[in-house]
């Protein structure tokens, strides 16, 4: 597998291998020298067509802790603005011989468009409303670290599932790892056909109290303030009333229920400060884990064939990659 485009395309074994590799990466953080030379001489281009300080810093730090050089390319203009096309930008970076392109883009499928055109490994850092695989992985790692398993856990994802790439990557990853997922939010923000896509393990609920009963983990999604203008909801106040996570609601979940949030938070909208800063909140832990997961991803995908699990796969990948490379040459 050359690129990390989404968790939809990954097998359970592949996801588990990355999560396994995240552990030793996180162990590096306790050393006085937090940097190892494994990606020395490699260049990681951070290609952000959408501003995101957190994800970009997280990837940048991950790359640096593996001794890779980073190249920051923030494309301020929105994707609709005419200018150099995405493919032109990617090919330019390819000519600069970067080894990784970490791509954040407001259009779903943008990394899938770039990946076959370049030799560099393309790592999806969030595309439109499609996927945000490293966020999905870091959420799973956070759960795994605290709960020792994902299989069989009851996980609630609450909020704007419709527009959330975090939700989609979580849904792919968590269902592959055997979790029972309930997505919860107003019907306007639940994507059509969600059970057809993710299967029977996924439940839909419009009632947060009901959804929370017996939950092991609750992943609170960020609510974009623009949703009010799109008439997805009448007001933020009403949203908070119905779907905001507060201490009273959290009591309905299991006593050791974890609270996740991909950040940045709208305190007092989708989550109360009390919960966000409370003992069950994993929000800062997620930030730390994010770096470790991204280190594991960069490391695992840096092999000559990208991410490879077993020898039979090498053969397959060779066949898949080689012709593309020839075209470029």
């Amino acid at each position: 597998m050359k690129d990390l485009l989404g968790l939809e395309k990954m097998t359970r074994a592949q996801i588990e291998r990355i999560l396994e590799t995240t552990r030793p990466m996180k162990a590096l953080f306790t050393r006085s020298i937090k940097k190892v030379p494994v990606l020395r001489g490699k260049t990681v281009a951070l290609l952000f067509f959408e501003p995101s300080t957190r994800t970009r810093s997280s990837f940048e730090l991950a790359a640096k802790r593996l001794s890779a050089d980073t190249l920051n390319i923030a494309v301020a203009t929105s994707s609709v603005t005419k200018g150099e096309s995405l493919l032109d930008t990617a090919k330019t970076l390819e000519a600069m011989k970067v080894d990784f392109m970490v791509l954040r883009h407001s259009s779903s499928g943008a990394p899938d468009l770039v990946a076959p055109e370049v030799k560099a490994r393309v790592i999806n850092a969030g595309d439109g409303t499609h996927e945000h695989p490293t966020q999905g992985l870091l959420d799973m790692f956070t759960i795994l670290e605290k709960k020792d398993r994902v299989d069989g856990l009851r996980i609630v994802i609450v909020g704007d599932v419709l527009h959330s790439r975090v939700a989609r990557s979580n849904l792919w990853g968590l269902t592959k790892l055997g979790a029972q997922v309930t997505v919860c939010g107003p019907a306007t923000l639940i994507p059509p056909g969600i059970r057809e896509v993710f299967g029977k393990k996924v439940q839909v609920s419009f009632n947060l109290e009901e959804a929370l009963r017996g939950a092991d983990v609750i992943n609170v999604l960020r609510l974009q303030r623009e949703r009010q203008e799109g008439n997805y909801l009448p007001s933020l106040r009403e949203y908070t009333e119905l779907y905001g996570l507060n201490q009273n609601r959290l009591r309905l979940a299991k006593p050791d229920c974890l609270v996740l949030h991909p950040g940045p938070m709208n305190r007092g909208v989708e989550i109360s400060s009390e919960v966000a800063d409370g003992p069950r909140s994993m929000i800062l832990e997620q930030v730390t884990n994010g770096i470790a997961v991204r280190m594991a991803v960069l490391y695992m995908f840096s092999g000559p064939n990208g991410f490879t699990l077993d020898p039979s796969e090498i053969e397959k990948e060779n066949n898949a990659i080689e012709p593309a490379l020839r075209d470029i040459a």
């Binding site: 030793p24 162990a27 020298i33 494994v38 092999g303 490879t308 020898p311 090498i314």
Partner: protein, 191 residues
């Protein structure tokens, strides 16, 4: 992997050898009472380090703390390794600065693993001195590295493989030599 193999060291020989190594260490390392630590290289250097630690304690010197080192992130050949190995624990629960370090591995071959281990150790601090301790030295060095203590020196051909088996990992103590050349020379090129 099913190459013809030959037993070089039996279970008893391995055990005797490790005891002998502990004694050699006590002779080689001056002032063994000085603050010293043992670091085993993943994977088979780890049980070996633990056993040596026990033998040293039995010999009456203060029992040294034992750490483990996974050198994957310091390897010089990651670009060629299609199958990235599972990264094992690195656990050095002590400060190495100013310490005498016994760096332990099962087989010394090209010396590249040791080079990686030395680099990694240096990132943990500044040891006073590092001794290299190996069970088997099979020659064919590619770097100017030598063992301070080697249990056994085996002369091998470059395409042969020395496999150390330890109870803790492999369920047996033994050292095997696998030779592709002798019984099926035609396969040499294919490997």
């Amino acid at each position: 992997m099913n190459l013809p193999r030959k037993n070089i060291l039996t279970k008893n020989q391995v055990r005797v050898l490790i005891e002998k190594m502990a004694k050699t260490i006590l002779k080689t390392v001056p002032e063994p009472t000085a603050e010293w630590v043992v670091v085993g290289i993943q994977r088979r250097g780890v049980p070996l380090a633990e056993r040596l630690g026990r033998h040293l304690a039995d010999a009456g010197v203060p029992r040294p703390p034992v750490g483990t080192l996974d050198i994957t992130f310091y390897r010089d050949d990651m670009d060629e390794v299609a199958l990235h190995p599972i990264v094992q624990d690195t656990d050095i629960p002590f400060d190495v600065t100013g310490k005498v370090v016994l760096l332990v591995d099962d087989v010394l071959y090209t010396g590249r693993t040791i080079r990686s281990a030395l680099d990694e150790l240096m990132d943990f601090g500044r040891p006073k001195k590092i001794y290299l301790v190996v069970l088997v030295d099979r020659g064919h060095r590619e770097l100017p590295i030598h063992a301070d203590v080697a249990g056994e020196t085996v002369s091998t051909a470059a395409d042969e493989m020395v496999e150390v088996h330890l109870e803790e990992i492999d369920g047996e103590d033994a050292v095997w030599l696998r030779s592709p050349g002798k019984e099926s020379p035609g396969r040499k090129g294919a490997r």
